[in-house]
């Protein structure tokens, strides 16, 4: 493909993309295809001769869109949001054209340096203390990870290497595997499944602790678990505090947990994957009180800050422990400037990395802090609007207080009724929700996901929920 054709193709795609997003409301949110739908629609093998771009363009609706779940439809309320914005899409075009692999400073200085500074911008924007930021002049700083799952794993590896280092000095007679078998980490039983996965991957025990009646992990519970494990001869080394759990958007008691971690020499990682974006708004920062006690902090601009996937923002006070965990450096990756700027390959699981900070730069500049705040506040207001509708119908109850853009609700009564309700709602095909279950209580989650969602969409969602409830209860 030549430049001339590319320009035609890219411009046609820009028109298509705008058309798709502006009219996304009219599409059926979840497609009605069955597994295996796609294979018969296309040839069995790659073509030998090149096809014209118009042929590809023609296939998008037929092959792709017919099987797409429209995450950016204002009628999509499942999971948590994933971000999408025009500035971010354009930034990725530039990133694709430069297509450098920023594993070290020299491999593309701009790629590393924009990331360092953007992570400072972003850290300041959410009110992170200076001790997490590169501008403080020490080793601390931010890095863009692909996902929150990777951040949790990276933090665990840092915690592991810090603790191994200490324990080896205290007990030179112990082998690596002896130490490893004693390490134990902790999280709320409501923490994201990626925390458990990080434990599996890192080959260490992770205990899930029971939260209080508001699904918050408390300091006291953590202290008790730590005491118990120390008595058993184990070595507590890592805690993940969740700000905004996936099931119900509960916030761990960070301030309490922070004290317990600090006084027990335990690495504290904060997973604020979804809710972290809300800290752009000062009125929500009370939820991260105690953040200065943590060793690492992570949230996903790719969830709720209009930066397209993948952009998970992580800050570390002492990245040296991560670097230590990955200390393998062949000659072809060494360079003269080593040490004067971070070589981000040591801060992450993969070696290669794209120029992802461009997305952050474009989004922060083209929205401005003010509009990003507006966006967050609007989503939270829409959640409260749905909450109000819900509470106005006495058949319904909330499972959890609404603090962010998530409403956890249910029909009063049996789980079976609520399972039937969900099936009914999704079956009608107008909106899309997923359920969750906590302490054996099954409930529905309505997350405000799309940047196109308006009150009228919430009215429709409520109408769907109500009509489905009518049907379910009529059958009882």
């Amino acid at each position: 493909m030549e430049a001339k054709e590319f320009k035609e193709f890219a411009k046609a795609m820009a028109d298509y993309v705008a058309e798709y997003l502006e009219n996304i409301r009219d599409r059926q949110v979840v497609p009605s295809v069955k597994p295996g739908y796609l294979r018969p629609l296309i040839p069995e093998q790659a073509p030998v001769k090149p096809e014209p771009w118009t042929a590809v363009m023609d296939d998008i609706e037929r092959v792709i869109m017919s099987g797409v779940t429209h995450w950016h439809s204002p009628r999509f309320f499942a999971y948590f949001p994933t971000a999408n914005s025009y500035p971010s899409i354009v930034a990725d075009m530039l990133s694709g054209a430069i297509a450098c692999i920023g594993f070290s400073w020299i491999a593309s200085p701009a790629c590393t340096e924009l990331e360092v500074v953007m992570m400072d911008w972003l850290g300041q924007m959410i009110g992170l203390p200076d001790e997490f930021l590169a501008r403080s002049g020490g080793e601390a700083g931010g890095v863009i990870q692909g996902t929150a799952s990777e951040a949790t794993l990276v933090a665990l590896l840092g915690a592991k290497s810090r603790t191994m280092h200490r324990v080896k000095e205290e007990h030179p007679e112990w082998t690596e595997y002896q130490i490893l078998s004693k390490l134990v980490g902790y999280c709320n039983s409501q923490a994201h499944s990626s925390v458990e996965r990080a434990g599996l991957l890192g080959g260490v025990q992770l205990r899930t602790l029971k939260p209080d009646d508001k699904r918050r992990l408390r300091g006291e519970t953590l202290q008790e678990a730590i005491d118990e494990d120390i008595r058993k001869g184990l070595i507590p080394f890592y805690v993940v505090a969740t700000l905004g759990t996936t099931s119900s958007c509960a916030f761990d008691a960070l301030d309490e947990i922070g004290d317990v971690c600090n006084s027990n020499n335990v690495w504290l990682h904060i997973d604020a994957a979804y809710a972290g974006s809300a800290f752009i708004c000062p009125e929500y920062r009370y939820l991260m009180k105690g953040v200065e006690k943590a060793d690492s902090f992570n949230f996903n601009p790719h969830k709720w800050m209009l930066v397209n996937f993948d952009c998970s923002a992580m800050w570390l006070k002492q990245p040296r422990w991560i670097v230590d965990a990955f200390n393998v450096d062949p000659l072809y990756l060494k360079h003269d400037q080593q040490g004067s700027a971070p070589d981000y390959r040591h801060w992450q699981i993969p070696l290669g990395r794209r120029f992802r900070s461009l997305k952050l730069w474009f989004v922060m500049r083209l929205y401005g802090v003010e509009n990003l705040q507006k966006f967050i506040r609007k989503h939270i207001a829409l959640a409260h609007y749905f909450e109000k509708l819900c509470l106005g119908d006495e058949r319904f109850e909330l499972f959890e207080e609404v603090t962010m853009g998530l409403v956890c609700f249910r029909l009063k009564g049996s789980n079976e009724n609520n399972e039937a309700l969900l099936r009914r709602i999704n079956g009608r095909g107008k909106i899309h929700l997923v359920p969750s279950k906590v302490d054996d209580v099954y409930f529905l989650r309505l997350a405000i996901c799309s940047r196109f969602t308006e009150e009228s969409d919430i009215d429709i969602a409520w109408k769907e929920v109500k009509a489905s409830a009518d049907e379910v209860l009529a059958e009882n």
Copy 2:
């Protein structure tokens, strides 16, 4: 940003991107900036009010391009190539617009299904046996990983869970940590640093074995190491065979290694990160003889097949072992169709995943197999052209036979002279190379990287190398 502005912005960016790539030859390949160059060029904080897109556009040259290492310059010969093509950039626009998170089939059927079928197309294109492909009807199939490093880690985790399962049955009295401490994996000492990293991450021993005088790991060497470790009471469980080592593009003796692995019940993973793309051309498939003996195979279309990063293609005969390693499934991720199509979240380290198969689809269709083959053959021919120039000057010698697009060469004589040569070449600023060192022999690597590279660029590269050599030798 509204749709109208987006269209203007995206179209302006399309023009910029085409202009950048078509004239990339005229840019200085490595920028002359010093660490810290960028911070003073932009404000200390994100703007409160939105800026116009034209302001961002204006800053690209000043802030970004001044610090970019141009990986797609035809004068860039460092590392290995990273891919970049017009069809791929446009595919990423569409992926950005759909912006689904394809962690399960239901989360976007098209995202999973196109990936399944594209991995079949690609597998057939490189001549992979049917037992690796989904179309064979069993559990086997392909998955797009972010990087080859992740693929190596994922395969290691699969190997670990398969072996743990077996050993637990044989020795129910052993603890997890006892088994873990006995596991041992193997690779060529020339394997990529990510293999060692995977071992560190997975918490298992990895032995690096000495290759033969052509830098190939041989079956006999592996068998000896395995015998020795079994005598010590260890449990061999994993081997990585490299097809195309990073330092010098050597190929492990796969066929021999495969036999050893199969007869010792050891998982064989193939890392063909760079060289794998060459298997599109039947004349290079002799280098992957024995591939059917492997459990998993990986190569990076994002290196040498014109698909932008990140797109690392991995096939697994028995993905169930990976799924087993990650067996954590909360309610909000379950769905009705579970089991009838792969839920790719179980095949990878992160949870979230973009719609990356679009890039493969666009590239394969818009180039066609024929042009992809042409592209590979041209790169290899250019490497041979440089080889010829090099061998025509008796001061030079090759460190390794040229098989792919990499030439490993040096001045006859001391390492110091060659270090001086590299500094001189890169110092002149016209071309960019990185060195390597194997068995204490320091040499220079010239990798054909850009799709814009022509014979005339090789002539210039050779002129630079020769002139630098003249200077170095004159000083001796």
